[in-house]
């Protein structure tokens, strides 16, 4: 579709850009400064309304560089929900000073825009632009507490690893371009069918995987994850652990299923990247879970657990079938609710009790029984116990691996890992409920925080009991 007629299908993104500009401009007008977050939230809501209008559209926009298809559409909802609640909760986070919030909101919206681009990119240029549009503001968001040494360290490690792995990825892109002479993903797929140099292709696959693997924090490109998650302000951590990871999986699936897969669903030119993904998946989840066992800092523990979750999702991608995409999309939906809910709980604990380690959480359940009970549900869901959303998500992932009949050992590793994860998630639950605090004075969270935790816990439980609507929606969103 030509550039001009594409605009009709690009309205959500354009509105998002307008919102970003509005947030930046409003920050300069003294009287209106306070309303900045309302503009940001309203922008996201109206983007959602426009996005809803685009439901079911499947078009190739801007000369085939961007796709407005159901696949991207589904992911955009994940980004909007994550972005909305992050902006909402950030206002009530004590560690974020009010003075920084206007820039903070604008940067978050830019990240959301970049995520939209990542999920819908169908060309090497747009994939690269999308990833960088997400990365650059994320570096700043991680270090937004300028005088905080940890925040500074987080942003430093993030920028160095991020720039390095995107450099590797772009070098891999250059080889793909050289091998096929095309920039569009479908053109590369056709070009690779007759490729004569599997070695060059293998190198390109490894380099591209480095770039995407960094975004989803896959071992061995995970080094930044624990430090960035621990050092960043907690709302940022919650956002980074869900939204860019979902976008990373979106772009990984689109890329690997359309570029490195032939039309008849086999790996391209006999390069068996599926075994590679299976191995990396096993290493990723085992590493994430084993190191998480030794953590005392709750945020750091959740960081390693998010590495493990990336491993579970990669497990399904070692099987080439539409079911794998479906399973990953289901898991990402469940993961959005349970992981962000857990991070909101961390924000609550930091706000009210300045609690950072599991030790600090002792007796929290007695002090705040309602939120404590919700946390138990969230931890159950993260572990994957029935009846919770995490269980359903894992069920679909394992079903794909077993139906694939290729990597039975991977399913066994996955089950063992789930058992290991039970230990450290329930260490938090144990600390919260099985210790009597010195003073049992009730701790109250603000209304917004309580509501956010509640709104994310309900799906984490409900989707474990009744998940048909989500499956139906995802079944309509697989095609790209």
């Amino acid at each position: 579709m030509s550039n001009f007629s594409s605009i009709a299908f690009y309205l959500p993104e354009l509105l998002l850009v307008l919102t970003i500009l509005a947030v930046i401009v409003v920050d300069l007008i003294p009287g209106l400064k306070r309303f900045n977050w309302i503009i940001a939230l309203a922008g996201i809501i109206f983007t959602g309304i426009l996005l809803y209008g685009d439901y079911g559209v499947s078009e190739s926009l801007y000369m085939g560089t961007i796709a407005a298809d159901p696949f991207a559409h589904y992911f955009k909802w994940i980004f909007l929900i994550a972005g909305f609640f992050t902006i909402l909760v950030s206002r009530h986070t004590h560690s974020l000073r009010d003075a920084d919030l206007p820039e903070y909101n604008a940067l978050l919206l830019i990240v959301v825009f970049g995520l939209f681009l990542m999920a819908s990119a169908t060309n090497l240029v747009t994939v690269y632009l999308g990833i960088e549009t997400v990365s650059l503001p994320s570096y700043i968001l991680a270090g937004i507490l300028k005088n905080d040494r940890k925040s500074n360290e987080a942003s430093l490690k993030y920028v160095i690893f991020g720039a390095f792995s995107s450099g590797l990825m772009i070098y891999g892109f250059s080889w793909l371009y050289g091998l096929t002479g095309s920039m569009s993903l479908s053109g590369i797929q056709q070009g690779l069918a007759g490729v004569q140099e599997p070695l060059a292709l293998y190198m390109a696959i490894l380099l591209v995987l480095a770039g995407f693997g960094y975004k989803i924090s896959m071992v061995p490109f995970h080094f930044w994850t624990p430090d960035v998650y621990e050092g960043s302000p907690t709302p940022v951590t919650g956002f980074l652990s869900v939204a860019p990871k979902a976008a990373g999986f979106a772009v990984l699936m689109r890329f690997f299923y359309s570029v490195f897969t032939t039309g008849s669903m086999t790996p391209v030119a006999g390069v068996d990247w599926l075994t590679l993904i299976a191995l990396l998946s096993a290493v990723t989840m085992t590493f994430g879970n084993l190191i998480a066992l030794q953590q005392d800092n709750v945020k750091r523990m959740l960081a390693f657990s998010s590495i493990a979750h990336a491993g579970y999702m990669l497990m399904a991608l070692s099987i080439l079938s539409p079911d794998a995409i479906r399973a990953v999309m289901i898991y990402l939906t469940m993961y959005l609710f349970m992981n962000m809910g857990a991070f909101f709980m961390v924000i609550f604990a930091e706000n009210q009790l300045d609690a950072h380690t599991v030790e600090d959480w002792k007796g929290l359940g007695r002090k705040a029984p309602f939120l404590g009970a919700l946390t138990v549900i969230l931890m159950m869901s993260l572990t994957g116990l029935p009846p919770s959303a995490g269980f359903v998500g894992k069920l679909y992932l394992f079903a794909v691996v077993i139906a694939g009949k290729k990597f039975y050992w991977l399913a066994i590793v996955g089950v063992l890992n789930s058992v290991v994860s039970l230990f450290y998630y329930f260490r938090i639950v144990k600390a919260m409920w099985l210790f009597n605090p010195a003073d049992t004075k009730p701790v109250k969270a603000g209304g917004v925080i309580t509501l956010s935790i509640l709104l994310f816990t309900i799906p984490a439980l409900l989707l474990g009991i009744y998940w048909t609507p989500i499956i139906n929606l995802i079944d309509k969103s697989i095609g790209f």
């Binding site: 650059l136 270090g143 920028v159 160095i160 450099g167 250059s174 080889w175 050289g178 002479g181 920039m183």
Partner: protein, 102 residues
């Protein structure tokens, strides 16, 4: 000298130098220079493939420009972060940022 192979050799050398720089240097600015070398290697690859690959469109060269622009943006953000590191630690040695471990 005016063939694809020589350009690819140069870009591979640039890439390896960049990789070496990132791995061995502990000075934040020097690490950034290593990353720039990697990006330049990719850029050179794109332009060389476009020039010698018999492609009618100029998309490889345009990608080269995109890489230059994004490398500049990335350098701006990274240098600001390193300045902040210097304010907090009085050094640009990235090993000095070691508050978090484990």
């Amino acid at each position: 000298m005016d063939n694809l192979q020589s350009y690819l050799i140069i870009s591979t050398i640039l890439f390896s130098l960049g990789l070496f720089g990132v791995m061995t240097r502990r000075n934040g600015v020097a690490v950034l220079m290593g990353i720039e070398l990697i990006l330049n290697a990719a850029s050179l690859n794109f332009v060389a493939f476009n020039r010698f690959g018999g492609m009618r469109e100029l998309d490889g060269q345009v990608f080269g420009i995109f890489i230059i622009v994004l490398a500049a943006a990335e350098a701006a953000v990274a240098l600001a972060i390193i300045i902040n590191l210097f304010k907090n630690h009085e050094t640009v040695n990235i090993d000095s940022a070691d508050q978090m471990k484990g």
